[in-house]
């Protein structure tokens, strides 16, 4: 199996900071893997995700996504790679409140020609509707403006947007922390099913250790991050 994400002697510090926030000798996530990355608040989880998503650029060290070294890509190429190959789910407020659920999902293809291509055989709207239905939204809910949906529904719409057009990697940044226990387990189950159907890699970040048993592989950020260990 090929690697999906590979970190090599990664160092990162915010401008003006005394010591690096992240210093990760190595981390590899292979394709199709479902990985839980656990870390305390403020331990640099979101920053790490920003680096993998190509929003920030690292200092010394290497971030490879799908075999491409992000440091060698221009801003535009990184944006394009993220649009095409990475589905991103936030903790909450994932959606543009003024668009319908369905429009929020199809927005994923707006900047992503590769995703549109993968959907070629299918109508984008139809595909979005299928995903939303599989994630448990009724056709009426799919047409509602996003701000009228419950938080749980919104997270499922966000998942549908991340999944549409089969990107290689889904990054979920504490997507369940705004949900209660029942909804949380439900959401993770649905996410797993969808990822399996598309053979999508899942990088799931949380501070909640109780989720670890659900994942085949689970990583403690403090264990791989030498900078974090030094700070604590």
């Amino acid at each position: 199996m090929s690697t999906c994400v590979e970190l090599n002697r990664l160092q990162f510090s915010w401008p003006g900071a005394q010591s690096p926030l992240l210093s990760i000798p190595s981390l590899t996530v292979t394709r199709g893997e479902r990985v839980l990355l656990r870390g305390a608040s403020g331990s640099g989880k979101s920053t790490l995700l920003g680096l993998i998503a190509g929003i920030h650029t690292s200092g010394p060290g290497q971030v490879q996504v799908l075999g491409q070294d992000l440091a060698n890509l221009s801003q535009h190429r990184r944006d394009r790679l993220r649009a095409n190959e990475i589905g991103y789910i936030f903790q909450q407020f994932n959606l543009l409140p003024y668009l319908s659920a369905s429009a929020n999902v199809t927005l994923a293809c707006q900047f992503a020609p590769a995703r549109r291509e993968r959907l070629q055989q299918h109508d984008i709207d139809q595909q979005a509707a299928m995903l939303l239905t599989r994630l448990g939204l009724t056709p009426e809910q799919q047409q509602q403006p996003a701000h009228q949906l419950s938080v749980g529904q919104q997270q499922r719409v966000a998942a549908a947007r991340a999944l549409l057009g089969s990107p290689a990697l889904i990054i979920a940044d504490e997507p369940t922390s705004a949900l209660d226990q029942a909804h949380r387990d439900d959401f993770i189950k649905l996410l797993f099913e969808a990822c399996d159907a598309q053979q999508t890699t899942l990088l799931f970040v949380t501070h909640d250790a109780t989720l670890a048993p659900l994942f085949p592989r689970s990583i403690e950020l403090s264990e791989i991050n030498e900078a974090g260990a030094a700070n604590v």
Partner: protein
């Protein structure tokens, strides 16, 4: 991207509407001022139309124009009745209106003229004079009847059959009142928005009567009564000829001198040739001017005022655009989340920048369109009111090229201004990334 910008605007429609209205009002003002400026200039040029030449004793063109059309100032030289006779008989002259000035009624200029004024004088878009009430002084047998312009009648509080006394000289207060010869009002003209509105019009012979140039012996006076003159309508083949006299030589003229003559030609193209003929007339030193050209020259001297007006409305537009800038900048803070979501699905910082520029453009475009619609609403519903109350004549014509340029300039300015908040959003997008610290 355009759809996304519109959807985002729709989401914030409350404040966006206000911005659009502000831009609409300011562009309405700019267009309105521009239109009033241009149309005032046109009106100014339209104070007289259809008249091809104005002739007076040798003088400057502005003096002749001011005294004959605007009834301002006083011509120191007058032309003889013989010259007037000569002018009437020039080839191609279709009609002629003699004017003798110098008297006033409480500051309103008295113009001694003939009935031809009411038939042949035109202003604006070739509109003839019309009577609001009453009739021409020529329809009375006696000479002591006057026709008043609309403003003169309103301010002197005179109506038909009221009496008025004419003073010598043009001052507000005159020590020489011609009260031996009180006049009666025979008619009042409809408002024209031109200096005609301030005029008091009396028959030529009446001025002579007032001044005592001419002693009205019963027989001669009869010979110059206007109803009688219709029978003498023999020259120039024009049915509206109401010249005071056409019996050259054998009868005394009603006055010996007049101030100016308005000439209408059968073919306006003849004006230039006729102007030269008149200017080189040997018997008397005369000046002939073409009113259109003289008005244009005169308008140029008034351009300072119009420039101030334009400057003010440009400042108002700038205020409107700054309002939009403020709204855009203020909205950036609450929209950081929106930007982060867009970034997460692959929108580059340039896309974020473009989104804001498109947004500003759309808002301004709507504002400008609304302002233009407002202008037409005002022109359509308010044109009559404006004309009646202020004498400003504005018409709801198609946007001129210059007005389109102005609107385009507003759009360009708005787009350039929006680059600042767009750049801020761009910077935010780079700095925030996907984590928004609010």
């Amino acid at each position: 991207m355009f759809k996304l910008a519109l959807a985002s605007l729709w989401n914030r429609r409350g404040s966006v509407w206000l911005t659009i209205v502000a831009i609409a009002v300011s562009s309405l003002l700019l267009l309105g001022v521009e239109r009033i400026r241009v149309q005032t200039q046109e009106n100014f040029a339209n104070t007289i139309s259809g008249t091809d030449l104005i002739v007076g004793a040798r003088t400057g063109s502005t003096e002749l124009l001011l005294s004959s059309v605007f009834h301002i100032g006083n011509l120191s030289n007058t032309m003889s009745w013989q010259s007037y006779d000569y002018l009437q008989n020039l080839p191609g002259v279709q009609w002629h209106i003699p004017m003798a000035m110098g008297d006033s009624v409480r500051g309103f200029p008295v113009i001694a003229t003939t009935d031809a004024l009411f038939h042949n004088f035109q202003y604006g878009n070739k509109r003839p004079l019309a009577f609001a009430t009453g009739k021409s002084f020529a329809e009375h047998e006696a000479l002591t009847y006057a026709v008043l312009g609309a403003d003169a009648a309103a301010e002197l509080q005179l109506s038909v059959d009221d009496e008025l006394v004419i003073a010598h000289g043009t001052g507000e207060i005159s020590f020489t009142q011609h009260d031996a010869h009180p006049f009666l009002v025979s008619g009042i003209l409809a408002r024209t928005g031109t200096p005609i509105d301030r005029g008091v019009f009396i028959p030529l012979a009446a001025q002579a009567l007032v001044h005592g140039d001419y002693l009205p012996e019963p027989a001669t006076a009869e010979g110059h009564e206007h109803d009688h003159e219709h029978g003498h309508d023999h020259d120039h083949g024009h049915s509206h000829q109401h010249g005071p006299t056409h019996d050259h030589g054998d009868a005394n003229p009603p006055v010996y001198t007049i101030s100016a003559v308005l000439l209408g030609l059968e073919n306006p193209a003849l004006a230039l040739r006729l102007q030269r003929v008149i200017n080189t007339y040997k018997q008397e030193a005369l000046s002939a001017i073409m009113p259109g050209l003289a008005l244009q020259n005169f308008w140029r001297t008034l351009s300072l005022f119009e420039r101030a007006l334009v400057a003010i409305s440009v400042l108002v537009v700038i205020t409107g655009l700054l309002g939009m800038l403020t709204t855009l900048l203020a909205s950036l803070r609450e929209r950081r989340r929106e930007m982060a979501v867009l970034r997460s699905i692959g929108a580059g910082p340039m896309t974020i920048l473009g989104l804001l520029v498109v947004e500003a453009f759309a808002v301004t475009l709507l504002g400008v369109l609304l302002g233009t619609a407002g202008l037409y609403a005002v022109l359509f519903f308010g044109a009559d009111v404006l004309h009646e109350s202020l004498g400003i004549q504005v018409t709801a014509s198609v946007l001129t090229l210059r007005e389109l340029y102005l609107l385009a300039a507003i759009l360009v300015a708005a787009t350039l201004l929006s680059l600042y908040p767009a750049w801020r959003a761009y910077r935010n997008a780079l700095a925030d990334g996907l984590t928004v610290k609010i």
